[in-house]
């Protein structure tokens, strides 16, 4: 489906409080178009809690329950059970959480709901840090990135939440990126058609957090995918399929763009380009090889 063919309905309204060039609100706009009106959202503490706007107004056109930072998947479990008790088994229950609310503090509730097989869609928009509180590191922050709690660059690699969710043996896991809205739309539609726990992660390049000009948000997302720093794929009932440019990279039909092309426009990596930091660049490149090696092994297992 082409962008122009996406439904015209808008559930994220104008006048919301997102930063210009915000990837979270862009991605959410597409997600809600795919899910439609019969959707209830749960949002933990994160940028989206702010994007809504201030009481008594709201920029959302679907019912939305705000909940504590670590609690989103548990809240959605309660809502789903409550709807079921009322004979409503078809409202989409959507969790929309940042990487903090999924990778870190929200992980226990996420894992619990996935293990229980609750019929819901959990989407992590991953901007690779805690934006809401002023750009601190998270478990999703990549090695080398400067944040306000890793000023000179993070010393650890990020964990890979999608892989962890695959290990929950849920019917659907997908990795997407805001810069590929058709791919994202298709993945959300597929998730919507499947019963059980569905997990989707969306890379969300955040202009103020990653420190690049807001007009290049879409381009940053594309570079992430083209350089292999992010991958587009889906795992449906243990069958792993790469999509978009990631498919070509996996199959060796396409070269990964050099990571420096991805990193050079982002202030969070600028210190890595200073003399003396060549070793750190090398670590990133080597890690990327390991990641793609694993993707190849995984996708040949999960056929």
């Amino acid at each position: 489906m082409a962008i122009k063919d996406l439904p015209k309905d808008e559930y994220l309204l104008k006048g919301n409080a997102a930063c210009p060039g915000c990837p979270a609100s862009q991605a959410l706009r597409v997600v809600l178009k795919a899910l439609g009106q019969n959707t209830t959202m749960v949002v933990p503490a994160c940028c989206t809690a702010v994007i809504q706007g201030i009481y008594p107004k709201s920029a959302f056109n679907v019912p939305l329950m705000n909940i504590a930072f670590e609690a989103a998947a548990a809240c959605a479990s309660g809502i789903k059970a409550g709807y079921k008790a009322q004979g409503n088994d078809d409202t989409n229950v959507l969790v929309w959480a940042g990487d903090g609310g999924s990778y870190d503090i929200g992980f226990q509730a996420l894992s619990g709901a996935a293990e229980r097989g609750t019929d819901m869609i959990f989407i992590c928009y991953n901007n690779q840090m805690y934006s809401n509180t002023g750009v601190q590191r998270s478990g999703a922050t990549p090695y080398g990135a400067s944040t306000t709690t890793t000023w000179t660059g993070k010393l650890e690699h990020n964990k890979d939440l999608s892989e962890i969710m695959i290990a929950h043996h849920i019917p659907y896991v997908a990795s997407a990126c805001v810069s590929y809205p058709e791919d994202l739309y298709a993945k959300v539609q597929k998730a919507k058609s499947i019963r059980g726990f569905k997990f989707i992660e969306i890379l969300a390049p955040c202009p103020p957090g990653w420190r690049f000009p807001m007009e290049s948000m879409v381009e940053q997302g594309r570079l992430a995918v083209e350089s292999g720093m992010w991958a587009l794929y889906e795992v449906e009932n243990d069958k792993m399929t790469f999509t978009g440019p990631s498919k070509g990279i996996l199959e060796g039909l396409r070269q990964r763009k050099p990571v420096v092309e991805y990193m050079k426009a982002q202030g969070r990596f600028s210190h890595l380009f200073k003399p003396g930091n060549e070793g750190k660049m090398k670590i990133i490149e080597q890690h990327l090889d390991v990641v793609w090696d694993r993707y190849r092994k995984q996708s040949s297992c999960l056929k």
Binding site: T39, P56, S58, P63, L64, A71, C75, S77, A81
Partner: protein
């Protein structure tokens, strides 16, 4: 016809929950609450109860799922104890501020370390300011009745607040005693179907709990305070209506025992107030004018009633909990609303499950009568070991 049974307080509470028919029950096991969760799970699995049961991975999630369920538009219930309740703390405030009528049974248990599974009231009293109505029970029938009444109170549109019904670990939870299980059809007449003020409805897409500025927050809090104030009379009326319909009754906000002419009144929460009746009977036989005010409703606090009581009697507060650095928790509350010049003695007793027998209660009251009690002291404190 009501069914007379002999069973533990936990099972009696579970029976009350079955009859109240919550749409969703979400819970996580902890001693001494476990037998409630097990019994409810069994009733749901065997079709005796129709609720959706969410066997969550923590108490934080139990309270959150109960909140989500309530927001979806159904009656919701959970039960916990001690560390489980402490873990819920953040979500207790969420339920309170979201004005969701979740009902929870809390089995009072001491907090660690060291691990102590026995009873004291520090778990629940530490949640005093979370925006929950708190009720403390001392009899199995009272637990049955109060659990049903709790749903009615919580869901009253003038109130819309969560309610915590407490009973003490082991002393109540695992002790078999007789109680009447009233007819479901009769209870249905008393407890109307849940009709929420709001719910998460795709036809009416509202946002709940988004950012709120200083311009509005104070008024939201004030509205909550008004509902707490209103809950006092409604709670009392509900208990009286129950008495008319079913016969059982344990008092309003306070259960008074021989207080009318009492010179000395013991004030307490929970089973010490029941056990104390034996001590009072004995002291009365000796000619001492003593009585008991067992506070049933701790939040909202029976401020006016305590003030009234303090005008005619010396108060002896027995606390099964402590606020370190301050003293007995009920003691502080009672002092804060007693009339100026009232004599008030405070004892801390029974922490971490140490028995408080009627003999102990007699000793404490006698000490006050004999003028030997201090304004605040620990009862039965052993030499450092």
């Amino acid at each position: 016809m009501p069914k007379e049974i002999i069973d533990t307080a936990n099972h009696i509470a579970a029976e009350a929950v079955r009859i109240a028919k919550p749409g969703v029950v979400a819970a996580y096991p902890i001693t001494p609450q476990t037998t409630i969760v097990e019994k409810i799970a069994q009733m749901i699995e065997t079709g005796k109860m129709k609720s959706e049961f969410i066997c969550v991975e923590s108490e934080h999630s139990a309270m959150t799922a109960a909140i989500g369920a309530s927001a979806s538009g159904v009656r919701s219930y959970t039960a916990t104890s001690s560390h489980g309740l402490l873990l819920m703390h953040e979500m207790l405030t969420w339920a309170g501020m979201a004005r969701l009528p979740v009902v929870m049974t809390n089995i009072n248990r001491a907090v660690g370390p060291g691990w102590n599974i026995w009873c004291d009231l520090n778990d629940a009293l530490a949640q005093r300011d979370t925006g929950w109505i708190q009720i403390y029970c001392a009899y199995p029938q009272e637990i049955f009745d109060t659990t049903i009444q709790a749903f009615k109170l919580a869901e009253d549109k003038r109130i819309s607040l969560p309610v915590m019904v407490n009973h003490e670990g082991f002393i109540m939870s695992h002790t078999s005693m007789p109680a009447k299980i009233y007819d479901e059809a009769e209870v249905d007449k008393y407890l109307p179907k849940y009709n929420p003020n709001w719910k998460l409805d795709p036809q009416d897409p509202l946002s709940h709990g988004n950012l709120i500025s200083p311009e509005h927050y104070t008024e939201v809090r004030n509205d909550m305070q008004k509902s707490f104030d209103a809950a006092k009379d409604i709670f009392v009326k509900n208990a009286e209506d129950w008495k008319k319909q079913f016969g059982s009754y344990f008092g309003g906000m306070i259960e008074y025992y021989m207080c009318d002419d009492a010179q000395y009144v013991m004030v307490t929460l929970g089973t010490i107030g029941a056990e104390g009746k034996v001590a009072v009977d004995k002291l009365r036989k000796e000619g001492h004018k003593v009585g008991i005010a067992r506070i049933r409703m701790f939040r909202p606090f029976p401020t006016e009633e305590i003030e009234k009581l303090s005008k005619k009697s010396t108060l002896i507060v027995i606390d099964r909990a402590i606020s370190p650095g301050m003293g007995g928790i009920v003691h502080s509350e009672v002092k804060s609303c007693a009339a100026p010049g009232t004599k008030i003695f405070g004892f801390i007793a029974g922490l971490g499950g140490r028995d408080v027998t009627y003999g102990d209660i007699e000793n404490m009251i006698r000490k006050a009568i004999e003028g030997k009690a201090k304004s605040s002291e620990w009862y039965d404190l052993k030499e450092a070991q």
